[in-house]
């Protein structure tokens, strides 16, 4: 993307600051990693002794569902879209599994939840891809539909009751050796799949192409609607996965569980350098973005600030980071 801008000869002739600027433009993940490291150091400075293996494990564990949800936003934002339905789709999936555990079983529940998510994603994809409904509206409408249906299902299942399967609790919350969250078993293959998929596969390149210049993409033979339908199915499946992990982590099954993570997931993708206008960004930055947000909220709560102050600072930090990022990468 921006690799074209800085031929080596050009950089040498400029001052070091310009060279540094070029370096930052080419590898926007560097300032993010610096910021992340700074936040970890800051945490240790304000609360000495807080950075321990246990702390790292807890941070990673709560960053995993957020990073997956932010992955949904990253992929959809690459095409110039957004997915506001991740909250209800994810909650629905976690809830569905919890209602089916005591009946059909956990595995069946997960299969059923993933099927339901696929269906929701398919409808969204058809709306966005074929009927060209604005993604914001389409995913907003779908989230109302999914929430309503999940509530109807909840009334049906009142007698059966819900409980989060012990296997999912282990998967979502267990820390191996006190440091490594077990949920990485799900996350690492998924992250590798997305990172390699975006860089090395034709489909990944198509996502960038459709978002960067839809007309050019069409003229060079890309069928945008197929790309988009598949995209929103992938996004819904990832949201379902995140919802199931989050219900395991929190030991809660509710039809609104993931709702509060929707806006942070958009923020994580943006802080990670994905442009909401499409065509620019990647999942690597998004993972760091999710880590940064998790450390920030952990730092704010460890300082003992009330919820209100935490929210204010959280919002202010997002604006600051996004503004600094826009400056550094020279994006307009």
């Amino acid at each position: 993307m921006s690799g074209l801008v800085s031929a080596p000869g050009v950089n040498r002739s400029r001052s070091t600051s310009a060279a540094l600027g070029g370096l930052l433009r080419d590898h926007p993940i560097i300032p993010l990693l610096v910021l992340f490291a700074a936040l970890v150091v800051l945490s240790e400075l304000v609360r000495p002794g807080i950075v321990s293996p246990d702390w790292i494990g807890v941070i990673l564990r709560s960053a995993v569902p957020l990073a997956i949800l932010a992955g949904c936003q990253t992929l959809t934002m690459l095409t110039g879209g957004i997915d506001l339905s991740v909250g209800t789709v994810g909650s629905m999936a976690g809830f569905l599994v919890a209602t089916l555990v005591s009946g059909p079983g956990t595995a069946e529940g997960i299969v059923f939840a993933l099927l339901a998510a696929t269906l929701a994603g398919l409808v969204t994809g058809i709306g966005v891809g074929i009927f060209r409904v604005h993604p914001l509206i389409m995913t907003l409408g779908m989230s109302l539909v999914v929430l309503g249906l999940a509530n109807v299902w909840q009334l049906q299942m009142v007698k059966a009751g819900t409980h989060v399967a012990p296997e999912l609790r282990t998967l979502g919350s267990q820390l191996l050796f006190g440091v490594v969250p077990l949920s990485l078993v799900v996350f690492l293959p998924l992250a590798a799949f997305i990172l390699i998929g975006l860089r090395r596969t034709g489909y990944g390149r198509l996502l960038y192409a459709v978002g960067d210049n839809p007309i050019a993409a069409r003229l060079s033979g890309a069928r945008a609607w197929q790309v988009l339908v598949v995209l929103y199915v992938i996004s819904a499946l990832m949201a379902a996965l995140a919802g199931i992990l989050l219900s395991g982590l929190t030991n809660v099954a509710s039809v609104t569980l993931v709702e509060s993570s929707v806006l942070p997931s958009v923020a994580a993708a943006v802080i990670g350098g994905t442009s909401i206008l499409g065509g620019r960004g990647g999942f690597g930055g998004t993972i760091v973005g999710a880590l940064i947000l998790t450390v920030v909220s952990s730092l704010l709560s460890s300082l003992g600030y009330p919820e209100a102050v935490r929210q204010v600072l959280f919002g202010a930090i997002i604006v600051l980071v996004a503004a600094a990022y826009t400056r550094v990468t020279g994006e307009h």
Partner: protein, 334 residues
């Protein structure tokens, strides 16, 4: 939506032509009105007792979302988007409730004026950040929604406070005829006093110009940054009015934002405002809010599960936008 397709009036158009072109220009609004009329007839058929109380309840319950939709419409017409409307409403609502509790009625007037100024100010902060940082509108306002909601929580941790009697009186009951609820009058007055002069002013024209083509607006001398900030400020002021209406209808302030930011986007799209900016008005969105509310009332009358009415709202949103977008695809192919 239909403004661009309206034929150019010939100088000596006959009165019939004028009428036809007025209908064509406002096709979306006329359609919404017809739909609303059908819906009212349908409501009366399924619930013969629906009458004065029903209409008054309808007017009071649509007021906050209708004002939120007007707020969203202004900023979207200017080419932006505001995800912090719900939070701004919560902030203004708690500020008003805290200041009014136990104070005199006249002090309440000061508070209301202050609330509107507060709305203008926080809206301008949103707009200023969008202009200065060059971060996309949706991101800035998303982040600011945390800031304003946090501020509301800081001022009033749990629902409470109070409201001046005249403020609660202004939205309940009826005005003149009992078929004319005060809440509806308030809405009409606000639109007539604020929106109509604004739309005809230089600023209003600049807002439309900015939304329909930023570069063209810039080249024709529109102060792009200033217009954007002012559009956000006006949005903030309408959000403040929506927040006031929350306090007025409940008598207290609630610090947790309702789902108004997202619902207002749904309402303006149903009301014929283009998300791309530059097209639409505020009457369509208000009608859309009334239609949405009446549909969910009807579903209650029909004993449909309330959760299914959420589904219906979602499907309606998708369906209407789909039809609109199909029509556009067909036009662009023709």
């Amino acid at each position: 939506m239909s403004a661009a397709t309206a034929p150019v009036d010939t100088p000596r158009a006959r009165s019939g032509d004028v009428l036809v072109s007025a209908v064509q220009r406002n096709a979306w609004i006329v359609g919404l009105l017809l739909f609303l009329a059908l819906l009212l007839v349908f409501t009366k058929l399924i619930q013969p007792s629906y009458g004065v109380t029903g209409v008054q309840g309808l007017a009071i319950s649509v007021l906050p979302l209708a004002l939120a939709a007007v707020a969203q419409a202004v900023v979207v017409i200017s080419g932006g988007l505001d995800l912090s409307i719900g939070s701004m409403m919560a902030l203004v609502s708690v500020v008003v409730a805290v200041l009014m509790k136990g104070q005199s009625e006249t002090f309440g007037v000061v508070v209301v004026v202050g609330a509107l100024l507060l709305g203008l100010l926080i809206g301008a902060v949103n707009g200023g950040l969008v202009v200065v940082t060059r971060v996309p509108d949706i991101i800035v306002t998303l982040a600011m929604s945390f800031v304003w909601a946090g501020g509301a929580l800081l001022i009033l941790p749990t629902p409470g406070g109070g409201s001046a009697k005249w403020l609660t009186g202004i939205v309940s009951g009826s005005f003149g005829s009992e078929w004319l609820p005060k809440a509806a009058v308030v809405l009409i007055v606000i639109v007539a006093v604020v929106w109509i002069p604004l739309r005809r002013s230089h600023l209003g024209l600049s807002i439309y110009a900015l939304g329909s083509n930023r570069l063209a607006a810039f080249r024709s001398g529109v102060a792009v940054g200033r217009t954007k900030i002012l559009a956000y400020a006006i949005t903030g002021m309408f959000a403040a009015l929506a927040g006031l209406s929350l306090t007025a209808s409940t008598g207290i302030g609630a610090p947790v934002p309702g789902p108004y930011s997202l619902l207002s986007i749904a309402a303006i799209v149903l009301g014929g405002v283009s998300l791309a900016g530059g097209r639409g008005g505020v009457v369509g969105p208000i009608l859309a809010v009334v239609v949405l509310q009446l549909i969910s009332t009807d579903l209650t009358f029909l004993n449909v599960n309330t959760n299914l009415s959420t589904v219906v709202q979602g499907l309606l949103l998708i369906g209407v936008v789909m039809v609109g977008s199909l029509a556009q695809i067909r036009r662009s192919r023709a």
